[in-house]
Amino acid sequence: MTITNNPDAGAPLLAVEDLNVRFPTEDGLVHAVRGVDYSLRSGEVLGIVGESGSGKSVTSLAVMGLLPGSARVTGSVKYRGQELLGLSDRAMSRVRGKGVSMIFQDPMTSLDPVYRVGFQIEETLRTHDKSLSSKAAEARAADLLAMVGIPNAAERVRSYPHEFSGGMRQRVVIAIAMANQPDVIIADEPTTALDVTVQAQILEVLQTALGETGAAMVLITHDLGVVAGIADRVLVMYAGRPVEVGGVEDIYYEPRMPYTLGLLGSLPRLDASTKQRLIPIKGSPPSVVNMPPGCPFAPRCPLHVAECDAVEPALVQVGSGHHAACIRIDEVAAAHGSAAKVFDAGSDDAVLGAEAPADLAAAAGTTDSGAPGDPVGERTDVGAGPATGSLLDPTTTPDGDRR
């Protein structure tokens, strides 16, 4: 899939500029989203990835105008040139569902348990088309259910959500989201609550739905595999800000931001036959309350230099349509997507010196009064292993003799 060249390709369908969201709390102002910019063209799939707390969901709720009243939202969200921020709830309701619709993460809670699923779809249809007869609405609801792959759709419209499994409910949620043929669908972790075999079905349904309606999609997820399969462009978020954005292949094969590189390196690979040690990112994401100046990733970054703490780097262009927020782009570029060249595999377990293991093994040897045949000797052997740091060195792992 590439960016479709339609007549109004110049004007993006959805343009988010300098979006900031702050929540007042007892601990101070939580700056959950700190300047998000993105634009979405018709037919395009933009993947937004990030770990929990990175602000990816709050961003989408802000776009939909679904944040609680206490949230302070600034910046601009334009849908087909129309500013959405500051619209009344009533005016926003005309855009929601028809222009921009949303698929939520948890299909167990995003449907109303006391109404039949058919009614919930019809409700969406009739909100935007008051002249629609109830008969026509019911027929259309059945069509939609059939389109998302629910068998016996004409009968199933009369079912309640509890009669459906998780995967089926998510299909209903997708049917509701596409009922009015929106231009943009925002899907917030649409498959996270589902099993992998069902996830594969739902992703297929989503792709069919996009094909049928020609809608563009913002897909928010933490699963880098899902994004690799269906996104055209990817935006990586960290501590409430985009830190890298670019075409899907650029992001996966030639990342320029150390965080992106680190994320890819910390993933175990299903298709890797050799046992490679995972490369964790040390530390944990920063709290977005009263953030210090400088790059938010600096405390975890292996390429950290003093300059990183001075000022938060802006997104700079590093290639065609590829931007990254880092001052050490050249060093990251030299790794060509190989995290091992930048990150130290042992860094996270730095506390584990050579003494700690020997200690525990010794403790095991002296205090263990276990059953006969207890492999104390084996433990001591492994624990008292040769040189410093050998336990952290994958090459010395006595792995081969066990298979």
């Binding site: 595999g225 994401p285 293991p357 792992t397 066990r402």
Partner: protein
């Protein structure tokens, strides 16, 4: 490997059925949820056995039944030559020194009112393993250091730690009694990827260093491939395929294993877009009323697409047993066929 060595843990025909009570005044048992329904597995010393399956397949129940946390309703679990099924709490206690569990959710499995020191020290005190205060302090310190935490922080409460750090506390607690076997029930699925990698590395190091055996229960097959020596796949309360890691991932023989592997998205755009994907239909049937014959037949791509009417008859009526398909490779399908899906 399986030929000469004795398993440290041997499970045969394990069953855990939860009764379904009827309505009305007298709560009669009207059926049973067959969460684990005749499961066999062996865990050998020093190995990591991955147990995978989708939600509701009974993998966590298996882990708990093995530890006697939820007593099994049938079958046998032999740990170091002793039968565990049917043992009471008292009789179970000395065995708990050697077999411990790490739970999935590090936010729910640590007592929020206890400082980390007390959490890690508790098993040592309960089992009376330390003579005095100094020794206790020393051992807790060593344990906390072993899992990569700062021993200065043991007077803090769980709430002051991040998810990854809490999971390390859970691991330190499980290691306190120097067990031989750890049951790890989805130990990293509640963690973000960048944190998850550190905990996986820690588990690998500990296994090598302390000579542990792991029963690693997970739904994430990428993690399982990374850490396991052998992998068992569960479906509706039974094991349907078990094999050495590379054999299972490179040449799966059961249609369900093939579909499962095929469904997992790879974080590699070119590869992911060029893959042929097997998409199976429907959801897992209810374990209260599993299908006749082969339990997977209702979703099986082979049953639906390849088999003739006469071949299907066998799937409908005969439950396939686990049969050998190669060295230490067993699968439960009448028409098993090794296929490369990755």
């Amino acid at each position: 490997m399986t030929g000469t060595r004795e398993p440290i843990l041997s499970v045969r025909g394990l069953e855990k059925h939860f009764p379904i009570k009827g309505g009305g005044l007298i709560k009669r048992t009207v059926g049973a949820v067959r969460a684990v329904d005749g499961l066999d597995l062996d865990l050998y010393p020093g190995e990591v056995l991955g147990l995978v399956g989708e939600s509701g397949c009974g993998k966590s129940t298996t882990g708990r039944a093995i530890l006697n946390l939820q007593p099994a309703t049938g079958g046998s679990v032999v740990f170091q030559g002793r039968e565990i099924v049917g043992l009471g709490r008292k009789a179970m206690r000395p065995l708990r020194r050697d077999i411990q569990i790490v739970f999935q959710d590090p936010y729910a499995s640590l007592n929020p009112r206890l400082p980390v020191f007390d959490i890690v020290a508790e098993p040592l005190i309960i089992h009376g393993l330390t003579k005095d205060e100094t020794e206790l302090r020393e051992r807790v310190r060593t344990l906390v250091e072993t899992v990569g935490l700062n021993p200065e922080h043991t007077n803090r409460y769980p709430a002051e730690f991040s998810g990854g750090q809490r999971q390390r506390i859970g691991i330190a607690r499980a290691l306190a009694l120097e067990p031989k076997v750890l049951v790890l029930d989805e130990p990293v699925s509640a963690l973000d990827v960048s944190i998850q990698a550190g905990v996986i590395n820690l588990l690998e190091d500990l296994k090598e260093r302390l000579g542990l055996s792991y029963l690693f229960i997970a739904h994430d097959l990428s993690v399982v491939r990374h850490i396991s020596d052998r992998v068992a796949v569960m479906y509706l309360g039974k094991i349907i395929e078990v094999a050495p890691r590379d054999a299972l991932f490179d040449a799966p023989t059961h249609p369900y294993t093939q579909a499962l592997l095929s469904a997992i998205p790879l974080p590699d755009p070119r590869l992911e877009r060029s893959r042929q994907r097997i998409i199976i239909t429907g959801d897992v049937p209810s374990p209260a009323n599993p299908p006749s014959g082969c339990r997977f037949r209702t979703r099986c791509q082979k049953f639906a697409g390849e088999l003739s009417e006469t071949q299907r008859e066998k799937c409908l009526t005969v439950e396939p047993p686990l049969e050998s398909r190669g060295p230490a490779h067993l699968s439960a399908c009448h028409y098993a066929e090794a296929t490369k899906v990755l």
